[in-house]
Amino acid sequence: MFPARAHREYPHRYRLEAGQCKKCGKVVFPRRLICPVCGHREFGKVILPDTGKLVSYSVIRVAPSQFTDEAPYAIGIAELTNGVKLMAQVADCDVDNIKVGMDIRIEFRRIQTDGHHGVLSYGYKFVPKWY
């Protein structure tokens, strides 16, 4: 990932910052310019909760080149405790043990290394919630 793009995305990738429509209250993640519900253009900042449930997932067995070492791995969609849905890799979990409905927690992880020379990209992943 280009450093400039990664840098722009720190607020949501690093800190789970979402936008909340000042008119109808809809929480959008990542933040956007226009509310998909009411068309309003003003948003406040909210931080997403770090727990939720997995609602869907797909196991990647043939991975893109930068992720081949991690295959097989799962990409899942989780619904957080405030109803917001987001997509991330499911880490620290054998792909055979992943189940729809399992409790997850969001953890800060390394996403990409860009070879031995590039910038390191960090962000959020899901891990099984066990406490």
Binding site: Y14, A91, E107, R110, H116, Y122
Partner: protein, 349 residues
């Protein structure tokens, strides 16, 4: 009065047993287990490094700190010998991830296994001087021993974070002390992947001399003796050294045990005595006195005397306890998985 406002730890969930490593190198597992007094060590997954461990530990520290707004943290120092970048401080990413930028002073610290306690020492000083309201000190490592080397059985991963401040303390820093000499017991030259160590030279003139020197100097400075402390936390390169040094100094096993994690965690290097302190705070009562002595090869020790306050009872369960991270929800891996996780296998780029 300055001290700890919030503390938190993080330990990766994977473990490898001494037997599994010994099997690969044809070594005798029982003698390693007995000699090092440890049975297993933590293994970081490939997407886990000093930065990610630090972020999770810092978030746990913020949970226990309660009303501290991250933007009020005026300094962040991360001590590690496994910073992911050679040039670019780990603290830049961690401060950004917890929302503490941009008005914050940042540097990475290095001093073998005592880099984390160095960060604690400096943070206390900055808060005491009034330069910053809060300061975040982290000791974190994903340390590596060369394959087949004795260090491979113990070098592990983990992190502890402490938010230092002057009000709302859960433990007061009564005093600090430092003891340091030029002792070449362990080192790594630039561009070298694995560290070198001086074999038996690492014991008496290095670990034992500095830890006893620091503990005795610290106790003399505050006018206390071993029996005045409820708990003591030493740096733990293996399970044996902290027990032996405790006995040399006149501490009892019961004072050492709550923070003695290496037998089932391994040596988390910069995280070692700091994580031991988090486990000790997890079970401490108001009024308890804790002595902490770190050790970093090269060589030196930092000493701290902590006095636990009433606030410990309110905050200890605001975040996950260290022994829970250590003993529950763990997965054992085989040597092949470990070698892949730790990038010990050379591939074509």
């Amino acid at each position: 009065m300055v001290g700890i406002v919030g503390y938190g730890a993080h330990i990766p969930r994977h473990r490898i047993k001494v037997e599994e490593i010994a099997k690969v190198w044809g070594a005798d597992a029982p003698s390693y287990k007995k000699g090092l007094m440890l049975t297993q060590k933590s293994v970081p997954s490939p997407d886990t490094d000093t930065i990610t461990l630090s972020v999770t530990a810092a978030r746990n520290a913020l949970l226990r700190a309660g009303k501290v707004n991250p933007v009020e943290i005026g300094a962040i120092y991360i001590g590690s010998e496994s910073h992911p970048y050679a040039v670019k401080p780990s603290g830049t990413v961690v401060a950004e991830a917890i929302g503490a930028t941009p008005e914050i002073h940042c540097a990475d610290f290095e001093f073998a296994c005592k880099a984390g306690s160095e960060a604690m020492f400096v943070c206390l000083g900055l808060v005491k001087s009034g330069y910053v309201k809060y300061a975040l000190a982290i000791g974190a490592d994903t340390s590596q021993g060369a394959p087949g080397d004795a260090l491979e059985y113990s070098a592990s991963a983990g992190a502890a974070a402490f938010i230092m401040g002057s009000d709302n303390l859960l433990a007061e820093a009564v005093d600090t002390y430092a003891y340091m000499t030029d002792t070449p017991d362990f080192w790594r030259r630039e561009y070298q992947f694995y560290p070198q160590h001086g074999g038996r030279f690492t014991g008496e003139p290095a670990y034992f001399k500095h830890v006893t020197g620091c503990a005795e100097g610290m106790m003399k400075k505050v006018g206390m003796k071993p029996s005045d402390f409820n708990y003591v936390v030493f740096h733990q390169p293996n399970g044996k050294f902290p027990m032996r040094v405790g006995k040399m100094l006149g501490f009892k096993k019961e004072q050492i045990e709550p923070g003695w994690l290496t037998p089932r965690l391994g040596n988390t290097y910069s995280g070692s005595s700091p994580i031991g302190l988090t486990a000790t705070l997890d079970i401490a009562k108001p009024g308890d006195m804790i002595l902490m002595v770190s050790y970093g090869s090269g060589a030196g020790s930092d000493g701290f005397v902590w006095k636990v306050t009433d606030r410990i009872n309110e905050v200890r369960d605001k975040a996950v306890r260290t022994t829970k991270l250590l003993d529950e929800n763990i997965t054992f891996v085989d040597y092949g998985t470990y070698a892949k996780f730790r990038h010990k296998i050379r591939k074509n780029d």
